[in-house]
Every structure is written in C-alpha cells, then in structure tokens.
C-alpha cells in the first residue's frame, strides 16, 4: 500500500512537470499552429537562469527569475523568428528545429555539457508520511505548483479578454482578425506564457532531478509532446488529464517492470490513442 | 436484369450528432445521367463522400452494379469503376498536365509500384494524350497543372477520371468557377460522359446545364430526398419549388 501511495505521488510529481511543459506547448500549437521544437530551449534557459541566481545569490528568487527568463525567451523567439515567417507555417516549425539545435549548443558553450548540481530548498529533502508512505516533499512542491498553474490558466482562459481571444483563435484565427483583434499580439502572448510555464518547469525540474544539463529540456520535451498529442492539441484540461495518465503509467511500469519499460509503455499508450482517436482525447476546444 | 450502375439504399449519415443525410434512396442506371440539386448545405457533398467511401454511412447501403460496396475503402471503389471530382478542383499542382493524366492511367492499369518501368512509358503517354484530346486539353500537356485556369483544371479533372475508364461518375459542381464562354464546351464534354453505358451523378447549380444534360433530377433538401424525376416534372413540383427555388420574399 505504502509503495502504491509513494509511486502515485511520485507519478503525479512527474505529471506536474509534464503538464507545465505541455500546456504552453499545447496553447502555442492550438493558436499559432506552430509545433514548437524550441520549447525545450525555453525550459533550459529558465532552468539555467534559476540555477545561476540560486548558486550566486539566493534560492528564493530562483523561480521568479526562471519564469521571467523563460517568458523573455519565448517572447523573443516569437518576435524575432516566428513573426517574420507568418504565412509560412512549415518554415516556422523548421526554424524552431534550428533554434532548438543552436540554443542547446549555446547553453553548452557557456556552462558545458556536463550536468550541474541544482540547489534546492532544504525542506524539500524532508519526507512527509502519507497513508504509511514516506513521501519526499519535493513531490508536493511540483504537484502544488501544477495545480496552481492549472487553476490560474483555466481562470485566465475563462474570464479574461485575452483568454477569450486565445480560445477563439484556437478555433479560427482568421475570424479573430476579422473582428478587429490583432491576433499576432495573442501569438506573442501565448509564446510568452508558454515560455514562462516552461521556465517554471525548468527550475522545478532542476530541483526535482537535482541537476541541470543543456539537453534536459529536449529530453523532457518528447514526453511533453506525447502529453500534448494525447491531450488534444490546444486543450489545457486535456493536457492535465494526459499528463497525469502519462506520469502515473511511466512511474508504475518503471517500478514493476524492467528499467525503461515505463518510457516505452508511454509510447505504446500514444500509439494506441492515436490509432483509436487520431484527434487526441479532448478534441479541439480550449480550457 | 441489369443492375443499376449505382444504387444508394436508405443511406443516412451524421456528422457527430448532427444528422446531415436522412435515409436517401437513389439509383443511377447504366448510361443514365442524374443531376442532384438542392440548396447549399443540403448534404449533396456529404452524399458524394458517402458514395465514394470517404465517409462511412451510419445506416443504409451503397451498391455498384448490384454489389455492396458500403464497407470498401475509396481506392477499392475506384478500382471497381467509381470516379469522382471534387468541388474544389483537386489536380496535382506540381505535376504537368500530361503527367497528371499519366498518373491516372498508370493507377488504372496497376503499374504504379514497378520502379523498373520508366515513367516516360510510351503506352501510358499515348493513352494520356488520347484522354487529353478528348477533353480538349491536348495542347496544354506540358503546362504545370497548378497554373491552369479554373475551367481548364475542371477539364483536367474529368480527364483524370476518364483515364481510369470508370463505369460510374460522380461530378461535384463541374461548372463552378468556369467562365460563361467556356461553359458550353465543358457541358459538351460532360454530356459525352455517359457514352458506353457509364452512369453519371452530378451536383450542379447551373440550372441550364442541369436541365439540358440530365435524364432525371434528384432534389435534396435538409438531407432528405424530396423527389427524383424528369427535369420538367421536378421543376413543376410545388414542394421542390419551395425548397430549392425559395419562396417569394
């Protein structure tokens, strides 16, 4: 029983990380139609920015700095690379592929290819007893952050004007323009938002794994892609559900099966979902 | 007894939960020209999609020459002699006009997967040229299909169909976008399609063409078939009048 509880909470912790990465990815795809390979770069930039602040200054501001760095990278990429290629969707995706290669190499040239150990708040090293299981507190940090972000995102999409624009834009971008709204401003917004969430995931992931390396973002990105596809492109709720399914499956199979089987089973899940419902589980509606 | 070239038997189709086609029953005999009319959104294109196999009906059957094809994939129906055009013209834009037809010819003759054959195969080229002459595009063989004028694309689409020597044709608004001066020539090409006992089912808004070409006219309205009769009878029918031609405002 205690093993199951521990595995569940660890799986949810992982799911939280996936959700943070995938939700931004999903919104960017849903609205701007860009399959953003540079998203892993946003995460890595956030992670290194947080790491830099935490090791050179203080742990407290690591998260806000990571979020800000991720957001700034997202906005910059949208304004400088994506926007000029508006009306050329294939080139947009290709450009993000180039960015992901170049960006990782850039980080590597600054901080080297080897993982750096990531400082974390002392309390996350403690454990809390839950139904007989000793659960490390960093799980709760991740889960708490993800729940908070999910609630905030849903509220943002549901109640704010920009949320409305994003939801409408996911359905029909051209019509949003035809209502007199500059839909490209919304593109910048979702890239910034996605970058911020990825930056948060970078810092939290660094604390969770205890280290950061330039390729970390790209490694996580593939599972985030899987979450996005299973969850339905453009859907935040679908993303959350899919992240939980993927995180739990991966954790449980890795524990009870051989090493690596969990990752493989996630791929199998994707294959099954795609074959049964090519559009993903939640269709095309945001929020 | 000869079977109809196409029989649609009690076909219904829902898009999600929204019913689009309701229990439509319709036959097209060998050599018969049937026009399908109805207001935009009546379900004509959906019916075509069901017949050609792009959509699976939620109820009913589709038969070709008496054989049930309801569960066959589009390419298998095509091999049994079903050809169709699309509302938005769908030619292969990056191939030349002649190559478009050659592709259709080789598709029909089953030579597509043999890499040892050259694509400049003489027999294929000759057959392609013949079809192009038939629709009056013989001069344009080397032109890129993507750069053709609209009416020429329509003709090319018909040529693609003819290359496969189909026994049943579905034409989705062949006159759409064709300039007025080109309509008569295209109509003549379309008229000739029933030669050799081929059945034709055509959606068309151009009423003059419909009345001129069709043996029978079927009227679809809100997914249901209101009737199928000779052009004169259909034009005189009061229900049809209201549904399609609209009431006086």
């Amino acid at each position: 029983m205690s093993t199951v509880v521990l595995l569940t909470l660890t799986g949810l912790g992982l799911a939280a990380l996936y959700f943070l990465i995938a939700s931004g990815l999903s919104l960017v795809f849903g609205l701007a139609g860009v399959l953003n390979f540079a998203h892993g770069l946003f995460l890595s930039v956030g992670a290194y920015a947080g790491w830099f602040v935490a090791t050179h200054w203080a742990l407290g501001p690591a998260i806000p700095v990571g979020v800000a760095a991720g957001a700034a990278t997202g906005a910059l990429v949208e304004l400088v690379v994506i926007r000029p290629l508006y009306r050329r969707p294939t080139e947009q995706v290709l450009a993000t592929v180039g960015l992901s290669l170049a960006g990782v190499a850039l980080l590597q040239s600054i901080w080297g290819a080897d993982p750096r150990s990531y400082p974390r708040p002392a309390w996350t090293a403690h454990t809390t007893g839950v139904l007989g299981a000793q659960v490390p507190d960093d799980r709760f940090l991740l889960i708490g952050a993800a729940v908070l972000v999910l609630a905030a995102l849903l509220a943002f999409l549901r109640w704010t004007r920009y949320g409305l624009i994003i939801r409408a834009g996911v359905e029909n971008r051209a019509m949003v323009s035809a209502l007199g709204i500059d839909v490209r401003a919304a593109f910048t917004l979702v890239f910034t938002l996605g970058g911020a969430l990825a930056g948060a995931a970078g810092v939290l992931g660094g604390m969770y794994f205890g280290s950061v390396s330039p390729g970390q973002g790209a490694g996580l990105l593939i599972f985030a892609f899987i979450v996005v596809v299973i969850g339905g492109l453009g859907s935040v709720t679908g993303c959350a559900v899919a992240a939980v399914a993927v995180g739990l499956l991966q954790q449980f199979v890795n524990y009870y099966g051989t090493s690596g089987a969990g990752d493989v089973s996630v791929v199998a899940l994707l294959a099954v979902v795609l074959l049964l419902r090519p559009g993903g589980v939640a269709g095309k509606v945001t929020a | 007894m000869t079977h109809p070239a196409l029989a649609v038997d009690g076909v219904s189709w829902h898009a999600g939960t929204v019913p689009i086609i309701n229990e439509v029953t319709l036959t097209v005999g060998p050599g018969e020209f049937v026009a399908l009319i109805g207001p935009n959104g009546a379900g004509k294109t959906s019916l075509f999609n069901v017949v050609s196999g792009l959509r699976r009906p939620s109820a009913g059957r589709v038969l070709m020459g008496g054989a049930d094809v309801t569960r066959l994939a589009p390419h298998k129906r095509a091999r049994r002699g079903l050809g169709r055009t699309f509302q938005t013209s769908a030619v292969f834009g990056s191939l030349s006009v002649a190559e478009n037809v050659a592709l259709a010819v080789q598709a029909a003759r089953g030579g597509s997967m043999r890499p040892w054959r050259r694509r400049s195969d003489r027999q294929i080229a000759a057959a392609a040229r013949e079809v192009l002459d038939q629709v009056g595009l013989g001069e344009l063989g080397r032109k890129a299909a993507g750069s053709l004028a609209h009416g020429q694309k329509r003709k090319l689409e018909i040529a693609l169909l003819l290359a496969a020597e189909p026994r049943m044709l579905l034409l989705d608004e062949p006159m759409a976008g064709v300039s007025a001066e080109d309509v008569p020539a295209l109509a003549e090409v379309v008229r000739g399609l029933t030669a050799g006992g081929r059945g034709v089912l055509m959606v068309e808004h151009h009423m003059e063409v419909v009345l001129d070409l069709a043996d029978r006219v079927a009227v679809l309205h809100h997914g249901s078939l209101l009737g199928c009769d000779t052009p004169d009878a259909v034009m005189a029918d009061a229900t049809v009048q209201r549904a399609y031609l609209g009431e006086a405002l």
């Binding site: 592929v97 180039g98 850039l106 | 769908a90 292969f92 043999r114 054959r117």
Partner: protein, 326 residues
C-alpha cells in the same frame, strides 16, 4: 550524363595528392581527409534517403534515426556479441530494420501530418531509451559500441585502408542515388509527387495511399540502416548519437538546407552539413564562445537559411541561374 562528372572525380580523388590548405588538414588522399570525406558521403546518402520520405513523398517523419541505429547497432551486436561474419550481419541488420520499418510504419502511417511526426518521434525515442539503458550490456550505453576489429575483414581495417572505407561510403551513396533517382524516374515517382500534392485524390484514382507510403517508409528505413552500417565501419563503432532525435533533426536540416524534394538538394545539403559539422568540431577550440559549437553555427545558419533562402541551396542555384539569364 553530367552527373557522372562528380562521380568520376569522387572515384579518382584518392589518387590525388592535392593539398587544399584551408579546407582540409592533409592532402586529399591522406587518411584523415579521406575519412572526413567518407563521412560526408555517408551523410549525403542518408539525407537523400530521408528526403525520399520528407521531400518527395511529403511524409514528415521524426523517427529516421531509429533505422540508422538499427543498422549500426544491429551489425555491432551481431558481430561483437554473437560473432557473426560481417556481411551476414549486415544483411540481417538491414533486413531487420526493414521489417521494423514495416511494422512501425504500419501503425504510424495510419495518421498524417503532425500526428505522424509525433508518433514517429515517440517510436524513435524508444530506440534512444533502449540504446542508453544498455540492456544486457548489448549496446554499451553512453559509451557506444566499438566494432571488434577481429570481426572486420582486413581490407577495411587500419589507417592504410581508409581509402577502401572511402570507396565503401561512395558505393553507399551511389546505391542511394540509383534507388532514389530510379524511383523519381519510374511511375512511382509520379505517384509520390501526387501523394504530396493531394492524398485524397490519389485514393480516388484507385491507388492505396497507405500502401504506397508504407512501401516508401520501408525502403527509406532500409537505406537508413545501410547508411548506419557504413557509418559504423567508417568510424569504428556505433554511438548513441545515431539513435538520437538530434540526428533526425539534422537530417531535416540537411534536406532543407540543400533543397527538399529536388534532385540533388538533400545530397548536397548532407555533404555540406557533415563537412561543416566535422570541420567546426575540429577547429572549434580555436573559436571564441558559442562559435566553437558546430551545432550553434549550423543551427543559426539553418534558421537564417529558412528565413531568407527558401528552397535551400537548390533554390538558390535556380534563382541565381534565372537572375543571370535575365
């Protein structure tokens, strides 16, 4: 016939003692230069093979590295752990990769577009995971799998025989060119172009898009595996890089840089990319900051190319030609 000139030059190259100071470290027929050129040729072939899927058939697969790795690791494992003779191992590895391509393609090609990209990406990720986890000590994990020299025929071993490896790489490239260009010229080439333009229309013509795509996928997979094998022979072993998404992304970069879907574009892109990658790694230490990272330079170059040179090198050439003509 014009295509034969570069081929003749490539065949004659090992007899040349020409020294090109900035481009190469040694004379053309020095082992170092021949190995560098050999790798370039292999990547030219790999990129052209990938372009059969990407540029010609319009299938955006993100899982091509899987098949390269299957060839490379397949041979390595059969030779090192099971002591198979090299050529039998090559045959089996390539056949195995083709079967894997058939099975995975059968699943993946049921979806199209972005979903296809995702599912191939995910499948390839399994390869990456397996290679890195080193199950049963078979793949050597992060260390890679050096090919035991005992298993390789003598004429392919040793610095003095680099020229034979170079010719092997050239032979691989010629095979890929013959197959891809053969398909372009055959009726199948027309079908692939049609497929890229309008898949629905192909089905209505009576052809099964699924079967054509699957056949192309299997063929491209087998060519990739063959390339993986040659790469292993050329460099002496398989490394996890061969199974990575980065490799697939690089292939996309090569194809697009060169001009996807054109006759020589991907081949050229592959050769140029591989050359730059190796040279930049070599001289990297002397360059400041990120410029020492080949991927930074290539990635940035690629983004600029995507933005400013649509159609890649092939497109550039065409436009230069038409500009000088007018």
């Amino acid at each position: 016939m014009k295509a034969l000139i570069p081929l003749v030059l490539a065949v004659a190259l090992p007899w040349s003692t020409l020294d090109i100071p900035f481009l190469f470290d040694g004379p053309l027929n020095s082992p170092g230069t021949l190995q560098l050129l050999g790798v370039c040729l292999v990547f030219g072939g790999l990129a052209l093979g990938y372009d059969l899927l990407f540029g010609h058939a319009g299938l955006l697969s993100f899982g091509h590295a899987l098949f390269i790795a299957l060839g490379a690791y397949g041979v390595g494992i059969l030779v090192n752990h099971f002591y198979w003779p090299l050529w039998t191992a090559v045959l089996l590895a390539v056949a195995g990769a083709a079967i894997a391509a058939f099975l995975l393609g059968a699943v993946a090609l049921r979806v199209t577009g972005i979903a296809l990209a995702m599912v191939t990406l995910a499948f390839a990720q399994v390869g990456w995971i397996v290679v890195n986890r080193d199950p049963g000590g078979l793949t050597g994990g992060e260390e890679g799998l050096p090919l035991g020299p005992a298993a390789v025929p003598g004429f392919l071993v040793g610095v003095a025989n680099t020229v034979n490896l170079y010719w092997l790489a050239l032979a691989f490239l010629v095979v890929v060119v013959a197959i891809v260009h053969g398909i372009r010229r055959a009726p199948l080439g027309r079908v692939l172009t049609g497929l890229r333009d309008d898949e629905r229309r192909i089905a209505v013509l009576g052809l099964s898009p699924y079967r054509i795509k699957l056949a192309t996928f299997v063929l491209a997979g087998a060519l990739a595996a063959l390339g993986g094998v040659v790469y292993v022979l050329l460099t002496g072993g398989a490394t996890p890089y061969l199974a990575s998404t980065d490799l697939t992304l690089s292939l996309i970069v090569m194809a697009v840089l060169g001009g996807a879907g054109t006759r020589w574009g991907a081949l050229l892109g592959g050769i140029v990319y591989a050359y730059l990658d190796q040279r930049l790694t070599h001289v990297g230490g002397s360059l400041p900051g990120p410029l020492g990272q080949p991927l930074f330079v290539l990635g940035t170059l690629f983004v600029l190319a995507v933005a400013f040179v649509p159609g890649g090198l092939a497109g550039l050439r065409r436009r230069t030609l038409s500009a000088t003509a007018s």
